[in-house]
Amino acid sequence: MTFSPELIAQSIITGIMIGGVFALISVGLSLIWGVMRIINFAHGEFLMVAMYIAYFLVARGGWDPYATLLVTTPALFLLGALIFRGTIRPILGHPSMNQIMLTVGLSLILQNLALVFFKADVLTTRTEYTRMILSIGPVIIRVPQLIAFIGSALTAFLLYWYLQRTDTGRAIRAAAQNKQAATLMGVDVQRIYLLAFGIGSATLGVAASLMISFYYTSPTVGLFFGLIAYVVVVLGGLGNFLGTLVAGLIIGLTESVGAAILPGSLSRVLTFALFILVLLFRPQGLFGGKRA
């Protein structure tokens, strides 16, 4: 095999673009963990639901893929809030294992409902953006990936600003740091949890709309993105907002550069190897376990 500099440059560019999306997908998981110490093992399946919504709006409804944001984002907020209210809130005080298993059950339900309704078919949609490219010298940038990267960065920035600068954002961070103290200061912690779960899920709606132009949809698509999100949040330090963003980029680069230099899907193995190395040497994540 020959590794031309162009190929490496290309894979780095692609890796950064994809890494931005990975970061966006993982930020919601990390936020939910940071606020209520729950890992939603149905996170990937929530994304899958959002991708089906975006797919049908684009493929059947003829929507502009980026206009689907207006539907996917509130829809996922609602899905997250409803599932939190109906299933997670009743067992908030239970051992963390019960919450984990509950979300594992939810992921099975969503995945197999998708299988029932949409069969195992892999659905792709070709939008007007799909084939657009920018050439910079020998390196090609796919426009939908660039838009996804910029969109992800903007969303992450907005979310960060919201958490840091608004009163509700401060309340969310207060609830994450100390539930009792926040309650005493007049924060309605139950409402904050609902909000955090909704926001953490809504980020997946954004991600789905950003990805629909260049990524396929299938009942098991959540499995892959869920795993990526788990690896990213552990790498970034569970609950660490900025760490998650950086870790997303690292995993994007690992996957992309790995795919350029390794045969088959071995790049995925590289990702997991990195994950194991981090656990060995920095189990608190690359950037510590501090909460945002």
Binding site: P90, L108, L227, V269, F272
Partner: protein, 323 residues
């Protein structure tokens, strides 16, 4: 003389199950094998998940290691699975020790442990898929050599049924026995209150790692049976999330950290799931997994201690609320 139900009932069940092949059809035996294998694997998962309180979401890692080791050794050098299973168990023990050390050394427990195990199992799916020596995505066949007990290959299902029945009975006997011994109490102590256990001189790290290694060995042996029974394995069906979820599901539904819970969960759920799969499978391929998901959610919401836990609670109430 007072009848000791905890001895009599299992023995009676064993006698009934041992007699089943005398009148059962092949299909009933097949269901019997599936129930017993599920009970066996869930009981193995329960050693770590129920007794030691560490919930692995990627126990298929060990199932796959067992299945691939024996199948590969048989295909390459003709080694009988009767020996290959112990090589697989050894590999699983080494990997289990490594994973346990990796996680528990820094106190990566609870959700962290769940994330790590799921990631490791999934890493194996991709790794094996890319290894041509292990058959890649196509997987490996256990070559049929005709009825040959020395190579763990049998005509019909009766012999397989008895093998898994014996494996399950031995495992349950072992769990029953050791859960009432020092190591069993150490595991429960570590699960319930790590600091207190440590203060009383329990080496909590060693106990957790040991529980994981035992559980890994048990699961790997089950993986060898899986490969011999189905005569075909691929990365997804042994290392994938399907087997992992089923192992924990039966244990949780039946009752975590109880001797009989996982087996009871398997006895109740596997026949229903198989019925759903065979009657709805053509039009509705995820039927049994959908059912598992619904059961898992309902159990977590309404009876988190599983069936055995529920029965124990009712029993206590009947006796007048004494704990």
């Amino acid at each position: 003389m007072k009848l000791r139900w905890n001895v009599v009932a299992p023995l009676a069940l064993l006698v009934v199950l041992a007699g089943l092949p005398l009148f059962a059809t092949e299909y009933m035996l097949h269901i019997g094998v599936l129930v017993l294998l599920a009970a066996y694997l869930a009981t193995g998962w329960n050693i770590l998940g129920g007794y030691a309180g560490q919930h692995s979401l990627g126990h298929s890692l060990f199932l796959g290691i067992g299945a691939y080791t024996s199948t590969y050794l048989f295909a390459q050098i003709g080694l009988t699975p009767w020996i290959g299973m112990w090589v697989g168990a050894l590999f699983a023990a080494i990997v289990g020790w490594f994973v346990g050390y990796l996680c528990f050394r820094y106190g990566l427990r609870g959700p962290y442990f769940a994330l790590v195990t799921i990631a490791l199992a999934e890493a194996m799916v991709y790794l094996v898929t890319n290894l041509n020596a292990l058959g890649g995505a196509e997987g490996l066949d256990v070559r049929w050599v005709g009825h040959n007990p020395a190579l763990m290959q049998f005509e019909g299902k009766t012999a397989y049924y008895y093998i898994i029945l014996i494996m399950t009975a031995l495992l349950l006997f072992g769990v029953q026995r050791y859960s009432r011994r020092r190591f069993g109490y150490q595991m429960i102590a570590v699960r319930e209150n790590e600091d207190a256990a440590e203060a009383l001189g329990v080496d909590t790290l060693a106990v957790r790692i040991r529980a994981l290694v035992i559980s890994a060995v048990v699961t790997a042996l089950g993986g060898v049976f899986f490969a011999q029974y189905y005569t075909y394995i691929n990365p997804r069906n042994v290392f994938g999330e399907g087997p992992s979820v089923q192992m924990l599901l039966f244990a949780i539904v039946g009752g975590l950290g109880t001797v009989w819970g996982p087996a009871i969960g398997a006895i109740l759920l596997v026949p229903i799931a198989e019925f759903a799969r065979s009657s709805l499978g053509n039009t509705f391929s995820g039927a049994h997994l959908l059912l598992y998901g619904v059961v898992l959610v309902l159990v977590m919401l309404f009876m988190p201690n599983g069936i055995v836990g529920l029965v124990q609670t009712l029993e206590r109430r009947r006796r007048g609320g004494r704990a």
